[in-house]
Amino acid sequence: LITYWQANVGGANWCGKVQSLIEDGATYAPNGAAVSSSWAYYGANCLNMHNVPAGYLGAQVHLVKSDGTLCGSAPWSFNGSSADLQTSTKPLNTSSSCPAHAIYRSDAHAQHYNPDTGSWPTSNWVSSPQLQF
């Protein structure tokens, strides 16, 4: 079962990735690969963010059911260093409305502080392929 999920942004082009922790080697959509107890990366789309000053980056992530229902959100994470940023990890919190066998995707976006304007321009939302929890 996939049990945890998070997003990270960083790298030379500030690309965003959504990743999930798979505990037991279960097969997951869409490519059918099986991974045991490790983070699987999805949705490596670039956020079109340039010249981000070190330590000024934020990211937020949502878990979305296939019908568009939000089934979980992690709060904004901000980095205080020049390192790439991972959002807080988030466990899958199952309920009858967000069952473990449902199809989800995880969408993340980022923002960075612009010291010249004092504003926080935001990126598009990076959307993962379907995730089978």
């Binding site: 922790l21 568009g68 466990p91």
Partner: protein
């Protein structure tokens, strides 16, 4: 009688205009104004053009009230503004806000009645790098305190 009739019609017209203006003003000054740029209610948008990105434009516009499942499993809606939360005023404030849990109202479909809460919260994944970094920092702090 004709004079009274004309007066009554004028008064009626005045009340009608005042009523319409009042309604418009009331809508314009309403505290919870609905953005005309967004669909008023709906699910989180799909990646309709298949580019792997939700642009928050056109068919991929995020609605004002978004379908969500509350903390106790209740189905309802959260407001776009609540979901985004407050904007930090500086990078320093942003770091203080980082990863802090935040509970927001879960609304019924009318966007007014509060039927629960939706909490933006983190998990405690033992293999997560972010958590591992926090654990290392806590360890170092504890070691320093121990002398």
């Amino acid at each position: 009688v004709n004079i009274k009739g004309r007066h009554a019609r004028r008064l009626g017209a005045v009340f009608l205009v005042a009523g319409v203006l009042g309604s418009i003003t009331g809508i314009a000054l309403g505290g919870d104004s609905i953005s005309t740029d967004r669909p008023s209610i709906g699910g989180w948008p799909q990646d309709t053009d298949g580019d792997g990105v939700i642009s928050d434009k056109g068919d991929e516009r995020i609605p004002e009230l978004i379908k969500a499942v509350g903390d106790d499993g209740t189905e309802g809606y959260v407001r776009y503004e609540d979901l985004n939360g407050p904007q930090p005023s500086s990078p320093e404030e942003a770091v203080k806000m980082s990863g802090v849990d935040r509970a927001i109202p879960l609304y019924a479909g009318d966007g007014v009645s509060v039927i629960g809460t939706y909490t933006l919260t983190s998990g405690g994944d033992p293999s997560g790098t972010a958590d591992a970094t926090a654990r290392e920092a806590a360890k170092a702090e504890a070691a320093q305190a121990a002398g």
